[in-house]
C-alpha cells in the first residue's frame, strides 16, 4: 500500500526487517537492544535475530536478571543499563588538537561527527530523556555542536512498552509509557491470536517516507484498540510510583532533613546512578600531550557529581561529604532542574534503582521525606 501514512499501519516481522535493511541501505548505523553479558544493552544491530527475542527482565533496587518469556516478543522487556546518551553524548570525545611549530601553535577543531544513527526500540522515557538533554545541550546561549550534529542526523524508531519494569515509574513523571512525540516511527508490538505484528505510526515526514516504502497493510480498529489497551495496562502495572506534585518545593524546603544522612550512610558514592541515568550530562575535560609537548589535545569525558573533586576549589571540595553529594544529585534531578530548564530531570526509567549496588530507591527516599514533612505539618 502506498499513500498518506500518518494513519497507523501494520508491519509483519518481515516488514520490520525490511525497515532495518532500508535504513542501513540509506547509510544509517543501526543501534538497538541486544543481549550481552546477562543484560540487554544498546549496540550495533542488523537483523531481527540480533534483538533479545523471547526475553524479559526482572528489575528491583540493586537487582537485574534476564528471564525467558513464553512467547517470541522482540521488545518484551523494560530498559537496561545503557541509554541513548552513550551515542548522542559519548563518554569520551576529542575536542581539539594543537600542534606547536616553533613559536606558534595551530589549534585544529576536531571535525564534527558525521555518523547517522538509527536508534531502534527507543522507549517513551528515553525519548523524553533525549528531549531533556536537548534542552541542556542545545537550548541555551551556547550549543554543544557535537551533540547537535549527532542529534539532528538521528532517526528514531520508538517502541511503546508492553511491559512495565519493576523499577519503572515513568507514569508518575508523565514520561510514558506511551510514546508521544520526538519519534520518527513508533511501533507497538502485538502478539495475540491475530499473529505477531507491529502497529506502526509515523511521527515525522521522514518517518512517513520510510514507512511508505515498506510492505504493510492498514491497521484495523481492533489493532489500534489492542495497542492502546496494551499501553494502558502497562501504565497501570508500574513497578513504582513517585508523585511529582510539589516535589521541587518538598526537597528545597528540606535540605537539612535527617534522611540525607540516612541515605549517605548507605550510598557508596560510586556514581553508577549518574552513569546509567539518561539525563545526567556532566562532563569534564582532560588535556594531554605527547612526550615532546609538541602535540597536545583536549578531550571531554563523562564526569559525576559524586566524584569528590567535582567541586574542587582552592582549599578543598565544596561538597566534601557523601551526604552533600547525594543531596546534590537528587535535588538537582528533581528540584533545581526545574529552575534551570523548566522541567524535571527525571523520566522515571528506574535505572538508578536497578543499578545501585546497595539498592537505593529514589522513590523511597522521596516518600520518606514527604512522610516526615507531612507529619510535621510542613
Amino acid at each position: 500500500m502506498h499513500g498518506p501514512s500518518r494513519e497507523p499501519s501494520i508491519l509483519t516481522p518481515a516488514g520490520l526487517q525490511a525497515l532495518f535493511d532500508a535504513l542501513r541501505a540509506d547509510g544509517f548505523r543501526l543501534v538497538g537492544p541486544t543481549r550481552r553479558d546477562g543484560a540487554i544493552v544498546y549496540d550495533d544491530i542488523a537483523a531481527l535475530d540480533d534483538l533479545p527475542r523471547g526475553w524479559t527482565d526482572e528489575q528491583s533496587p540493586g537487582r537485574y536478571r534476564l528471564v525467558p518469556r513464553t512467547d517470541a516478543a522482540l521488545f518484551g522487556y523494560a530498559v537496561g543499563p545503557h541509554s541513548w546518551k552513550a551515542h548522542l553524548h559519548p563518554s569520551i570525545q576529542r575536542l581539539w588538537r594543537a600542534r606547536r611549530d616553533g613559536e606558534s601553535i595551530a589549534v585544529t577543531l576536531e571535525p564534527l561527527p558525521t555518523e547517522r544513527f538509527a536508534f531502534i526500540g527507543v522507549r517513551a522515557c528515553e525519548l523524553k530523556a533525549i528531549g531533556v538533554q536537548d534542552r541542556v545541550l542545545m537550548g541555551g546561549a551556547h550549543v554543544d555542536q557535537r551533540y547537535r550534529a549527532r542529534r539532528e542526523a538521528a532517526f528514531i524508531v520508538a517502541v511503546n512498552c508492553a511491559v512495565a519494569g519493576g523499577a519503572c515509574f515513568c507514569a508518575s513523571m508523565d514520561a510514558g509509557p506511551a510514546v508521544r512525540s520526538g519519534h520518527d516511527i513508533a511501533l507497538t508490538e502485538l502478539i495475540d491470536g491475530e499473529g505477531h505484528r507491529f502497529l506502526a505510526e509515523a511521527g515525522t515526514a521522514a518517518g512517513e517516507t520510510a514507512l511508505e516504502a515498506l510492505p504493510r497493510h492498514p491497521a484495523s480498529a481492533a489493532d489500534i484498540a489492542a495497542a492502546r489497551a496494551q499501553s494502558e495496562r502497562t501504565a497501570a502495572a508500574m513497578g513504582r510510583e513517585m508523585p511529582a506534585e510539589g516535589l521541587r518545593e518538598l526537597l528545597l524546603d528540606n535540605l537539612e532533613h535527617p534522611r540525607w544522612q540516612d541515605v549517605a550512610d548507605r550510598c557508596l558514592s560510586c556514581g553508577n546512578c549518574t552513569l546509567v541515568c539518561p539525563t545526567c550530562f556532566c562532563t569534564s575535560v582532560e588535556d594531554s600531550s605527547d612526550l615532546t609537548g609538541a602535540e597536545t589535545e583536549r578531550s571531554m569525558r563523562w564526569d559525576s557529581c559524586f566524584n569528590l573533586d567535582f567541586t574542587h576549589v582552592v582549599g578543598g571540595s565544596v561538597r566534601a561529604s557523601v551526604r552533600s553529594r547525594y543531596r546534590q544529585w537528587m535535588t538537582h534531578k528533581l528540584a533545581t532542574w526545574h529552575d534551570q530548564f523548566g522541567e524535571s530531570g527525571c523520566v522515571g526509567c528506574g535505572r538508578c534503582l536497578t543499578w545501585c549496588p546497595v539498592g537505593i530507591d529514589i522513590t523511597e527516599e522521596v516518600r520518606a521525606i514527604r512522610a516526615s514533612a507531612a507529619a510535621k505539618g510542613v
Partner: protein, 282 residues
C-alpha cells in the same frame, strides 16, 4: 613568527581555544603574577567577566579579567600560582603560547551604579576582578557619586597593584583604604579586618551600591557589615567562584543550587544568592 589560530574556533565553537601569546608579565607578590595577553580578536570583556586560559598540554583555568588594554588589544589576567595549571600559567613568559576562550559570564552592574555612591570591598586576590571596575569608574568619574575602595589582604607584601593604588589615592575624590591581617613594624597603615574600614566610613545607604569580591568567608562578613550599614540585599553584588570546566553551562561543575556560576554569574546580586551562600556544602 606568525600565530596560526583556527579562524573557525574563536566564534564557532566555544569549547575550542584561540591560540594567542603572552605579551607581558609582572610579578605582584611572591605567588601572584599579572599576564598581558594578545586579545587575538576576542570580544572585549566587561568588568567582572572571566576567560578560560589554556597552557597547551597542561590544562585550563578560569581567570577573571583584571584589566584591559587597547591599541593593540590586550587582555590582562592576575593569577595566583596555587595548583598545577595556575602555576604553569603564572610561569609563562612573554612570547609564550597560551590558549584563550571567552570572555564569559555576567559582569559587575556598571550601568546600575551610575548616579550612585559606589562602595568596593575587596579581599586578597578579590581585588583583581574589581580593578576593571575601579578603572571604569575613574574613566567616567562624573557619572558616579562617591567612590570608595576598602581593600584587605594578608600582609603588606601581598598588596596587589600597590603603585596603581597609591597613584589613585592622590585623587581627591576617591576614598581608598587598605588594611592587612598583620604587618611588620615598618607598616604605617591599618591592621585589622577589612570590615572595620567599612564601619569607620560614613555611608549613605540609600544612595550606595556595593561590589564585593574575596574569599567566601570574607564576603559573608562584608555583606553582613554592609547590611548593618543599611544597604539593601539587591544593592550588594558579589563575584562567586566555583570549579569551572566548560564555562558555558554544559559540564555541570559550577552549580550552586539552581545557578550556574559560569553563566548566571560569576557576579550575582546578594538577594539572589543569600540562601545559597548560607547553606553548608551546597
Amino acid at each position: 613568527m606568525a600565530l596560526a589560530p583556527d579562524p573557525v574556533s574563536a566564534v564557532a565553537d566555544p569549547m575550542t581555544p584561540t591560540a594567542s601569546r603572552v605579551l607581558g608579565r609582572r610579578r605582584e607578590s611572591p605567588n601572584v603574577w599579572t599576564l598581558e595577553i594578545d586579545a587575538a580578536g576576542l570580544p572585549a570583556p566587561t568588568p567582572g567577566q572571566f576567560c578560560m586560559l589554556t597552557v597547551f598540554g597542561v590544562g585550563e583555568s578560569a581567570i577573571s579579567v583584571s584589566g584591559l588594554r587597547t591599541r593593540p588589544a590586550r587582555l590582562v589576567h592576575t593569577i595566583r600560582a596555587v595548583g598545577p595549571t595556575s602555576r604553569a600559567l603564572a610561569a609563562l613568559r612573554p612570547g609564550a603560547a597560551v590558549g584563550l576562550r571567552g570572555p564569559f559570564g555576567a559582569g559587575w552592574p556598571m550601568v546600575a551604579a551610575e548616579g550612585r555612591d559606589v562602595v568596593i570591598l575587596a579581599g586578597g586576590l578579590g581585588l583583581a576582578p574589581l580593578r576593571p571596575v575601579l578603572r571604569g569608574l575613574v574613566a567616567r568619574r562624573a557619572r558616579y557619586g562617591r567612590i570608595s575602595l576598602f581593600y584587605g589582604t594578608r600582609s603588606p607584601a601581598d598588596i596587589l597593584y600597590r603603585r596603581e593604588l597609591e597613584r589613585l589615592r592622590e585623587w581627591l575624590d576617591l576614598d581608598i583604604e587598605v588594611t592587612v591581617d598583620h604587618a611588620g613594624p615598618e607598616w604605617r597603615g591599618h591592621v585589622g579586618v577589612v570590615t572595620n574600614l567599612l564601619s569607620r566610613a560614613t555611608l549613605d545607604p540609600g544612595r550606595s551600591i556595593a561590589f564585593v569580591c574575596g574569599p567566601e568567608i570574607m564576603m559573608r562578613f562584608a555583606v553582613a557589615a554592609l547590611k548593618d550599614a543599611g544597604l539593601a540585599d539587591a544593592d550588594i553584588h558579589l563575584s562567586l567562584e566555583r570549579n569551572m570546566r566548560c564555562a558555558v553551562g554544559h559540564c555541570g561543575h559550577c552549580q550552586l543550587g539552581p545557578v550556574f556560576v559560569c553563566r548566571d554569574g560569576p557576579v550575582f546580586s546578594y538577594d539572589r544568592v543569600a540562601a545559597l551562600l548560607g547553606r553548608k556544602e551546597l
